[in-house]
Symmetry: C2
Subunit: 460 residues, 2 copies
């Protein structure tokens, strides 16, 4: 019997050991699909940036493998709001530009509030989650220091050989690129000449700072400091929420930059608190005070995404892209990784069904390629529209936050009519029907005949 | 007993005898609410423009008064697509700009298609529907040649006196402005100095033409001519559908105009076919041929809306606004009147409940004002967000149709990622939950205490 299992199971190679790659690996392991992860870095030390997951994405993790959720929580995820009498998380938009007197009833006006529900957003540090996630996966599954060079066909059955920069290589029946915004798999799949192979500058820069809670309370007041708030105004916005067991707030300011940022230049450069002092000079005094508590030297991030040149397809033969590799979004929805988790759940469903289809098939080794290619076609059909919508919608959210009309009193009412759209876009993310996605994916794959691909078609 | 009915029933005055005013009147009559309609024109002859109603709006009409639907259909409403084997209506977006060879697979590419369902859109001529609608309403309900001058308080109970340009006046307990985009009631309510009292130029102009079906078939081919199609491209689009018992097509071209259009200038001026020949010079040959079948002299309409300066509220005391008077939308969703019909259903529900509340109340004549003011507050709460969303969304739909990226091959894929948003916006209109609106309206009114307003508060 083990012989048959050996023959009919596919082997999946995941390129990239980030949050999406490791979550997918954990899901495949749970669903008895053979998998290997190839990560170019020497280890899993990443930048300590904050990230958040919706309750909906946490459910998707749980459907792949409940251990992913345990890892998230053991990595210190906490709700992004911290009202101890109310477990719901609220996203609150307030007027950050208005610099009028504190007695004015429209001073720091609360413009809009949305409830994301119970633990609706859980914030965590990327590095801490990743560290906990690695422990979910047996060590032999992951290979470090494997920078992908290229991919080629191997043998008559469409099996793939991955060649790494260190001269080694590996084989697989299916390759999934989870290698992030600067994906090498995307570049190999679309070709080096295609502008869709690379992310482009979104003309926004971000500055982030951690501020001790007592200083934040001093500047913002008790309530605002301890709960997520988004201070919006013309051409900029500043969002903050409590982190580090509520001893600090994580604040991020997004500024519009009409200038260019060369594609080949590093996207993180030194920035100064002074830049923010200038950008927010006309804003609310409480924000200006908060910025005074930022360190003098900050990191400045150029925000890149795949908005200008989206990938025309997420699959080619037995190779496909997931997460940021497929659709790198700007961070204005705070949900880029959530969409990648949805991708992973879809792929987990499909890879498991590929194995079901092949089980007991005496010609399995010959039919694996066709079964995988069909599955990746279904993945492209199920996920491309949503992934690209998220990239567009994230840009739009930034535009709505940064409306120039916020600075013109005669246009305030118009500016405030944006929030129905903000709500619709947020709900489309938060209320994603993952059960329906699984059902539709399953049905579409069941209906689809295996795609017969010649050995050359999967080659890049 | 008739004496008690006399004492407790409110009297509603509707200003404006257009589609929304007359539909609301028909609804109020059906719900035993006393109503009078004051129309400034000498009769109900309107321009013979085409308009369409969603299946959803037709349901709303039916809930107000099934005779409205009979009037719509007797006025010649037909589905906007005419495939005799398929009763569903489809909205189809095709590439109108591509001027490549007919053999090119992307020639006139079908970019997106949405099903609006069974009789999903019914197109009619405004004048024909209006003529049929007038017959639903007893003649003594409608007074013609009543141009509203101003409104004043009358007596201690907040009753309103409407003063007309002909020197006559009328009284009512509640005034509903259904007087369209150039609403006098809005101007009186917000004040002549408020820019929200007037619509503003949307920087789009529209040209419309009727083309005989055989000429349309010649230019577009059998299928396109007989079914709704939207030809989109950079800075312009052209939409057409069959009318006049399918003997003609109604074609409308929308062009972007960066110039200004003074608010006090007439919005319909003479235009020339030559204007369109120039605007569409680089477009698909079949469209250019179609335009050759337009009359040489056309009407050119400047599209105005309330996008720049939305009304800060739809109600003030016992006066409120509905339809275009409240939220005048550009026509790019083809659903402005549908939203007005939703308003009318909400008001019909509320006015009927005001009467229920007052029935048997011995102080009814004193309490009418408070009951009406509360009802109009609920109306504003229920309808303002959606009405203003529609105005914004209609602008956005035009932007998505007219993306500059349609002219740049390297940006086509990006441009095509807009359709998920097109779908979401369309569905938000087509799938409106009117049952839920009625329930929420009823609950909100039941919970609300009567608003006590001094006699001055309703005055303008």
């Amino acid at each position: 019997m083990p012989g048959i299992i050996e023959d009919t199971s596919i082997e999946v190679a995941i390129v990239g050991g980030g949050i999406i790659g490791l979550s997918l690996a954990a899901g495949l392991i749970k669903h008895n699909v053979k998998v290997k992860v190839y990560e170019q870095a020497q280890g899993f030390r990443e930048i300590g940036a904050g990230m958040a997951f919706t309750a909906n994405a946490v459910q998707c993790m749980s459907l792949m493998n409940p251990d992913i959720v345990s890892a998230l929580r053991s990595g210190g995820a906490v709700p992004a709001s911290s009202d101890k009498d109310d477990p719901n998380v609220y996203l609150t938009w307030i007027d950050g530009f208005n610099s009028r007197d504190k007695d004015d009833p429209t001073y720091e006006k609360m413009l809009y509030r949305l409830s994301a529900g119970h633990r609706g957003f859980e914030g965590t540090r990327r590095d801490q989650f990743l560290e906990a996630l690695v422990k979910v996966i047996p060590p032999e599954i992951v290979e470090l220091k494997k920078r992908l060079n290229n991919i080629e066909e191997k043998g008559p059955n469409g099996r793939i050989q991955l060649n790494f920069a260190d001269g080694t290589s590996a084989e697989a029946d299916a390759v999934i690129g989870c290698d992030g915004i600067k994906s090498r798999v995307r570049e190999l799949m679309l070709g080096e000449e295609d502008p869709a192979s690379y992310p482009h500058y979104s003309h926004k820069v971000a500055y982030r700072a951690l501020v001790p809670m007592e200083k934040a309370v001093e500047a913002l007041g008790e309530y605002k400091a301890r709960n997520q708030h988004n201070h919006i105004g013309p051409n900029a916005y500043l969002i903050h929420y409590p982190v580090a067991n509520k001893t600090m707030i994580n604040a991020t300011a997004f500024l519009t930059d009409p200038g260019e940022w060369p594609d080949d230049k590093v996207t993180v450069v030194p920035g100064l608190r002074k830049d923010l002092e200038i950008a927010f000079a006309d804003w609310n005094p409480c924000l200006r005070t908060l910025i005074q508590h930022f360190p003098e030297k900050l990191e400045k991030w150029a925000v890149f995404d795949t908005w200008d040149y989206p990938a025309p397809y997420f699959n080619k033969g037995n190779i496909c892209l997931a997460g940021d590799a497929a659709h790198a979004s700007s961070p204005h929805h705070g949900a880029g990784a959530c969409c990648g988790i949805e991708d992973a759940l879809c792929l987990c469903t499909l890879m498991s069904q590929v194995n079901d289809r092949l089980r007991g098939d005496e010609s399995a080794s010959k039919n694996k390629n066709a079964a995988v290619c069909s599955a990746f076609e279904v993945f492209d059909f199920m996920r491309r529209t949503r992934g690209q919508w998220l990239v567009n919608s994230s840009r739009r959210m930034c535009d709505l936050n940064q409306q120039i009309d916020w600075s013109d009193k005669s246009k305030w009412i118009k500016a405030e009519t944006c929030f129905e759209e903000v709500r619709d876009r947020s709900f489309k993310i938060w209320h994603f029907d993952y059960d329906d996605m699984i059902k539709e994916t399953t049905d579409a794959y069941a209906k689809r005949q295996p795609v017969t691909k010649g050995p050359e078609s999967g080659a890049i």
